[in-house]
């Protein structure tokens, strides 16, 4: 550790003169310092990707509804959406519960990418999800996730305490990386915990722990101790900051429950400016084998309303140009409904990309409902084209490196 860095770290941790810190200090601290001194400028390196996983296989046909197609109505005697859909054009409309999506679409902030899939589709939840997470239909044993690969290779230099955050208890394979990605279920979980005896005892212990970290970071008795001291110091500050923001945090909109609360947490962390590049959250289960109508409607309402609230909140904080959201599911469902008023595992389905920098609209061909393979839709768009577009045009990365192949970009960014 250089002398200047050591001194700066001490200053930073004591909370004084933060504004004067230079770039030699840990990125998190300098970002924090900078955030207090002046608004951050818009550079592409600040772009943030939020992935929403629709777990269980979302029924694409009842999400982006081909309402003008007779085959659709014949195939879906019980489940076809007959009215109240939000018309997008003469052929297609959004499910009635997707009011939130319609608003984003009308504002030009929602791209719908039709017919996403891959060759030889897999209908096992588990294996199909692995394929989407790995970004690799071959499912090789190198099961680092596509985002994990991005973290390992492109974010290796980043010293941020929170390069990527998964909201939830378990880390998805997509984020599986050599650098462990934190899973944050709640703000409460991301905190320095204490056995609470009384407040003065808690304060004493907190101070001791902080002092020990600072001493290790500053003294640098060994590189490992310095590294650990620095990580712990950063984490404690990050946790305290997150806690402070939650306590005093007022979202600029009302978020619905479920996914809405996950996105609210993500908005909080984005607003706190920790330098986090990736967020991941999940909604489910979309595995609607029986009595699909109410179930699917509830999920889509949760999805649409939560996403709309999220973008509205970001816009109010003037962060809407920094954030892009991608929604996907491991597969769509079969064209013909089953005998339980539900649908079974199918293949191609739409993906959704939203955000202030997204060029809204319809992309790629809607799959034919007559030209089927084993009763399933043939995909028109390899899902990795969406990944490649986001990697190259949004995350300033090299998609060929991450996906081990070149995929044609789609014009939604």
């Amino acid at each position: 550790m250089t002398t200047s860095r050591r001194e700066l770290l001490k200053i930073g941790l004591s909370g004084a003169a933060v504004v004067s810190l230079s770039g030699t200090m840990p990125a998190f601290l300098s970002k924090f310092a900078f955030a207090q001194s002046a608004p951050r400028t818009q550079v592409s390196d600040d772009n943030i990707l939020v992935v929403i996983q629709l777990t269980g296989g979302n029924d694409g046909l009842n999400t982006v509804v081909p309402f003008a197609d007779d085959v659709y109505h014949k195939s879906r005697g019980q489940l076809a959406i007959k009215d109240k859909h939000h018309k997008i054009n003469d052929q297609l409309g959004l499910h009635p519960a997707l009011k939130g999506f319609k608003q984003l679409f009308d504002d030009g902030q929602l791209a719908i990418v039709n017919g996403c899939g891959y060759p030889k589709p897999n209908r096992s939840h588990f294996e199909a999800m692995n394929i989407w997470h790995a970004g690799d239909p071959q499912q090789s044993a190198r099961v680092t996730g596509w985002l994990g690969h991005y973290i390992d290779h492109q974010l290796r230099g980043s010293d941020s305490a929170l390069k990527a955050v998964s909201v939830g208890t378990e880390l998805p394979l997509a984020l599986s990386a050599q650098t462990p990605v934190p899973s944050i279920m709640t703000v409460e979980d991301f905190a320095l915990k204490m056995d609470v005896v009384n407040s003065s005892d808690v304060e004493l212990k907190r101070k001791m722990i902080r002092d020990t970290c600072t001493r290790c970071a500053a003294e640098a008795a060994s590189p490992a101790l310095e590294f650990l001291g620095r990580q712990a110091s950063n984490a404690i500050i990050a946790a305290d900051q997150i806690k402070k923001l939650t306590t005093g945090y007022k979202p600029d909109v009302d978020y619905p429950g479920g996914l809405g609360q996950q996105l609210r947490l993500i908005a909080q962390i984005i607003a706190a400016n920790f330098g986090t590049k990736l967020f991941y959250c999940q909604l489910g289960s979309f595995d609607t084998h029986a009595n699909q109508l109410d179930w699917h409607e509830r999920l889509l309402a949760e999805l649409g309303n939560s996403l709309a609230a999220f973008h509205k909140d970001l816009a109010a904080k003037k962060l809407d140009k920094k954030v892009t959201v991608m929604c996907f599911s491991e597969f769509g469902r079969r064209v013909v409904e089953n005998n339980s008023r539900g649908t079974d595992h199918g293949t191609a389905a739409p993906m959704f990309i939203s955000g202030g920098r997204v060029k809204g609209g319809m992309y790629c061909d809607y799959p034919s409902l007559t030209d089927l393979q084993d009763g399933d839709l043939k995909h028109t768009t390899d899902f990795r084209r969406v990944y490649a577009t986001l990697l190259d045009k949004w995350l300033n990365s090299d998609s060929t490196e991450v996906l081990r192949n070149k995929f044609e970009a789609i014009d939604f960014i």
Binding site: F126, N130, Q139, S140, A141, R142, V143, T144, G148, A161, L162, K163, T169, E170, L173, S176, A177, Q178, T179, P180, V181, P182, S183, I184, F190, A191, L192, K193, M194, D195, V197, N198, S200, D201, L204, K205, M208, I209, D211, T212, C213, R215, C216, A221, S222, P223, A224, L225, F227, L228, G229, Q231, A232, N234, A235, I236, A238, A239
Partner: protein, 468 residues
């Protein structure tokens, strides 16, 4: 990969390969005993530390190493639990291994199984028949300290591995190179020591192995019995002769020596060390146990250079703390904690295994490690099947003053070699009354004492405690 800016690579010890002999300047004290039990075991309890101090280094190493892999109390227990112990879900399998780690009386055997689990990193994310995963770890326990050549041959025919790297679909005319590539790149030689052509030809030598109903069999009809050219030598290579050929490559012994030195000694062993132990490995005809005995007996192993040079894995942190402090922590709680901290047993991130060291640490995982200190020190709730009666133990051993208690836990958890500032801070904390006034601490009665419990928490929540 280990980044040099995090771990020291200089200041390696003098005469590293000579046998360590205790002296006045390099005593056989708590630091070295604790170091041995952390690296070659799973952390020492107070009694184990005391016993270790009375042994010679050689005796202590022998006690850890000389177990008979064919008889195991834990295996007997597992047999008794047939019908109760089900591996329907990954968590059950993970809990069983963690239970063994928490309770075994032969920690080095489990440590070696962990090393090979990381080396031949196979994941239940693809091998969904969990019994096969359990069997693979049992293979590591049974053969992990024997001949690496025999271990490698067994792994090449292990059903979990055949599924994991698609060996089971590798057949004549339709070779699958997944196993062959990782065999060369990760398991034996390292990148740069073979060609793409070698990968293709080695794949052909391993054709014909099948897995059916969890049983492995050799399908002679699927085997490619033609000539193959591997490393420039043409012959009718098959799996066993190919393995012997691969292990004759100069980089093979170095690759394995480097792996063992990294896991047991230091994240960045020098070339001189790798070359020395690679040579010794060959002289021992690939036997792992005699090589480990030499490593553990060496000046290198007991040097300041090796001491606290590695960052503990999540399993190290949780299992060692439990073995040190006592009490009955549940395997399920350890599973939840280690998973959150980034080490979900049976689910390595990919075939390369866990990078370890500084890759274990990020903002969330360091907080989880610190917070684990609260759990292990207070032992409240369902995470603990039985709580440790620390107060009674301390009273029985006549440890009552703040100084005695702080020094006891610093000895147990940090080998008594903690920075003076830490000891002073702990003493200041314990000898302070509710209003912040100075009040010498005296443990007077049995029952939960929050001050002394906090000492354990505060030691867990130090950078030093994260190091092995």
């Amino acid at each position: 990969m280990v980044k040099n800016d995090v771990m020291p690579v200089s200041a390696s010890p003098s005469e590293p390969f000579a046998t360590f002999v205790p002296s006045e300047s390099e005593p056989w004290g708590v630091s070295r005993v604790g170091h041995l039990y952390r690296r070659a075991g799973l952390g020492a309890s107070f009694d184990e530390l005391q016993r270790g101090l009375k042994l010679t280094p050689q005796q202590a190493v022998d006690q850890l190493l000389d177990y008979d892999p064919d008889t195991d109390r834990m295996d007997e227990l597992q047999e008794q639990l047939v019908g109760y112990l089900k591996f329907d879900e990954p968590r059950q399998l993970q809990n069983w291994w963690l239970f063994r780690l928490l309770n075994t009386d032969r920690p080095l055997q489990e440590r070696i199984a962990l090393v090979w689990h990381n080396h031949f990193a196979t994941s239940a994310s693809k091998v969904t028949q969990l019994q096969l995963m359990a069997d693979q770890i049992a293979l590591f326990r049974r053969m992990g300290s024997g001949s690496f050549r025999d271990l490698l041959l067994a792994v090449s025919r292990d059903p979990a591995m055949l599924r994991w790297l698609d060996g089971a679909t590798n057949r004549k005319g339709a070779a699958n190179e997944n196993w062959s590539r990782e065999l060369l790149e990760l398991f034996t030689l390292g990148a740069g020591h073979f060609t793409e052509y070698d990968v293709k030809e080695v794949a052909r030598a391993f054709t014909g192995w099948r897995v059916e109903n969890s049983r492995v069999w050799f399908d002679a009809g699927g085997f490619d019995d033609g000539d193959k050219t591997i490393f420039g030598t043409t012959a009718k290579w098959e799996s066993e002769s190919a393995i012997d050929l691969i292990l004759r490559q100069p980089s093979a012994a170095k690759h394995i020596a480097r792996r063992l030195l990294r896991e047991f000694v230091h994240p960045g062993p020098t070339d001189e060390m790798i070359d020395h132990y690679a040579q010794r490995l060959l002289e021992h005809q690939w036997q792992i146990k005699p090589l480990l005995r030499e490593i553990f007996a060496s000046r290198m192993f007991f040097s300041d250079w090796a001491y606290r040079s590695r960052i503990k894995s999540p399993v190290d942190v949780t299992v060692a703390a439990s073995r040190q402090i006592g009490g009955k922590i549940t395997a399920n709680f350890v599973r939840e904690q280690t998973t959150k901290m980034g080490q979900s047993l049976f689910f390595p991130p990919n075939v390369k295994g866990w990078d370890g060291h500084e890759a274990w640490i990020n903002a969330n995982t360091i907080l989880l490690r610190y917070n684990f200190g609260v759990a292990i020190s207070t032992q409240r709730g369902e995470a603990f099947a039985r709580q440790v009666d620390l107060e009674q133990w301390l009273l029985k051993h006549d440890m009552r003053s703040g100084e005695q208690i702080v020094d006891h836990f610093l000895t147990l958890m940090l080998d008594g070699s903690a920075p003076a500032e830490l000891r002073t801070a702990l003493l200041t904390y314990i000898n302070r009354g509710p209003k912040g006034e100075a009040r010498p601490f005296v443990l007077e009665k049995d029952g939960f004492n929050f001050k002394l419990r906090a000492i354990i928490h505060l030691i867990c929540a130090t950078p030093e405690y994260q190091l092995s």
